[in-house]
């Protein structure tokens, strides 16, 4: 067997182990994030599907022997045979995942790239900025009945969508050069990186401003969600409809609205049954926390409540019918 064939045979026989190790890391990080935050938040946080990716055999051999890397032990020294990407929107979200990695018992990790460190060293250079970890099990590990040997490496990249775009652009040219990048290419890459860094700063500012502007309604949604869960016995599923409803009903959420809603639902228990029925029939409107404010408005004002309702009359008919009213 040639050197390349030997390398390839070993990889083929071991790559399932790497895949399982990568899969284990994915599941563990997602579970840690979900318990630290909420599953819904994690869903929002990660912009690209998280899954372990094995390196293509041909590319692996290229990297081991043909790129002037001078490895003493190419198989052992190449640490990205399996890799995982966590892609987030904002630079500040990167630390959520980094923390989850660093605090996991039974793993060892090293930082392969740390853009904050790199930027401290070269403050005037604009280069690819992401956090890369190499994560290994400290001891032999059993995953779903399969053994992962201690020290099996997996590369975990954590980056923003902007950085992800940049790395897609420069993937095969600058970092894995089969050809020399020209100064002009490098200059343009550095310019776009600088622009991305500035864009991230603006993104974070906009994000904060939006958060500040929607603070009041978020507080209302949170309060209504608590009542909804307690009185209806289901978890609400606020969607874009929640924003639409709250835009109309925000003004009603003052003083005693929480106890008014609770009183209404306890006096008219059939409302609870009807809301549950409609959620079971997949009507998303009735899974919005602020639907309770709409009910309160109809209870107080009957048909006159139509003038505040932000959706169609037909969509209000079920709420009106619950009180014996009708748009017709």
């Amino acid at each position: 067997m040639t050197r390349d064939e030997e390398f390839s045979a070993r990889w083929e026989s071991e790559k399932l182990i790497y895949k399982r190790w990568g899969g284990h890391i994915c599941r563990h990080i997602l579970a840690t994030l979900s318990s630290t935050f909420t599953p819904a938040y994690v869903n929002e946080l990660l912009k690209v599907r998280v899954e372990p990716r094995l390196k293509d055999t041909r590319k692996l051999i290229e990297k081991a022997f043909y790129r002037r890397k001078a490895y003493a032990d190419p198989y052992g020294e190449i640490t990205d045979k399996v890799g995982i990407r966590f892609v987030v929107l904002l630079g500040r979200n990167i630390r959520h995942i980094a923390t989850a990695i660093e605090e996991t018992e039974g793993w060892t990790w090293s930082k392969d790239r740390d853009y904050e460190e790199e930027q401290k060293e070269n403050p005037v250079t604009f280069d690819y900025a992401a956090v890369h970890y190499v994560v290994r099990p400290r001891n032999d590990l059993e995953v779903n009945g399969f053994r992962i040997p201690a020290g099996t490496p997996c590369e975990v990249q954590i980056k923003t969508l902007l950085q992800h775009a940049y790395s897609e652009l420069t993937h095969d040219t600058i970092y894995k050069p089969q050809m020399q990048a020209t100064p002009a290419m490098q200059r343009n890459a550095a310019k776009s990186m600088a622009l991305l860094e500035a864009t991230n700063d603006y993104f974070e500012k906009v994000f904060d401003q939006v958060r500040e502007a929607t603070k009041a309604v978020r507080v209302i949604t949170a309060a209504l969600s608590m009542i909804y869960t307690r009185e209806i016995g289901l978890d609400p599923h606020p969607s874009v409809l929640e924003g639409l409803l709250l835009e109309a009903y925000e003004g009603l959420a003052e003083e005693d609205y929480e106890s008014d809603i609770a009183t209404m639902l306890r006096e008219k228990t059939y409302l609870v049954d009807n809301i549950r029925d409609r959620v079971a029939r997949q009507n998303p409107l009735f899974a919005q926390p602020s639907i309770l404010l709409a009910y309160l408005d109809v209870e107080k004002r009957g048909r006159a409540a139509l003038n505040r309702w932000p959706l169609t009359e037909a969509e209000m008919e079920p709420l009106l019918n619950d009180f014996g009213e009708s748009v017709h």
Partner: protein, 351 residues
Amino acid sequence: MPLENLKIRRICLHEVYKRTDDRQIAAPTYSSGLLELPQKARDAFASRVHSAFRNDAKCMAMSIKRFEPNDIAARGAAIILTEDADFVQQSHAFAYKLAEAQTSRKYPGGLVVIFDGTVGRDPLPFYGVMKAELHEGFVKQNDLQATFVETLFLTPKTKLYKIGLFIATKYSDQVLPDDWTATVYDNQLTSSDRDGSAIYFYGAYLGLEIPSNSARQVKSFFDASKEFIRSASVSQEKKVDLYNGLYAYLKVDQAGTIQVGEFAERFMPPELQENYRNHMRRERVPATVISKDLTECGASLRIRKLRFANRITLSGPPEAISDFVDVRQVEGEGGETWTQITIKSPLEGQE
């Protein structure tokens, strides 16, 4: 009379026809089973019933006049206790009785819908008897062609249906007529020709009559409305308009019925309507349609009076005050409030 927590249990449909040319009954077509509808259609049916009895709808509380075993009131009280198969069977009689009650060819055919269920925060049994007339319309097809049909019914805007709704006042062992209330929805109830187009349904067919307390209810409507206008926080000029409206609504208007919501919408600015409805509710004036029986307020409707300081009174027939007198509030000497009255007539005499 909004139907809170309405749960419709069973629905059965039959068809009746207008009388034959020699004024004989054309035999109804009877359905052999309950009407099975998907949830969305059931919701739409319930929505039609709600729209008939919601606040301000053209529905009227009635007295149950006939309740012998063959009358609707007794048949209805019995049908709610039946199993499904018997429900269908017994509902045939409801259709035949409508065909009987439609004594003339001027009454169109239509569908008779018998339905039952429960209603109310503490649910009580009810049954409903609906006559839904068929009407014309177009049905869109997928290729953007259209089919013309003459068998539509219960489309929301047409209101081509009448309903008699009987609700028990206790859960079981009801005795007729005291343990039942009856309410009729019929768009034609309020027309001046009410007796022609509505009475065959609520009277001859359902065995109901206009409640004997209508005169008292009209009087309390009149008194409570006057009280509301007197204490409303609007200008005196506006009050003149409101009083004029009230007298016109009761006296001049040709309709056979009155209703709180209708008066509010026709004569009041939007900002007063809600307060007015609440005031009338507190004064126990029903929000349903009231038959316009003026016998108890006759005298006070005849003359309208405007009173000023020093025993000065302007009085006259309400129509004349409304048409020929213009009242305006003006600022007099020393900032006092004066009233400027314009009477569109020469002074014809004085003593």
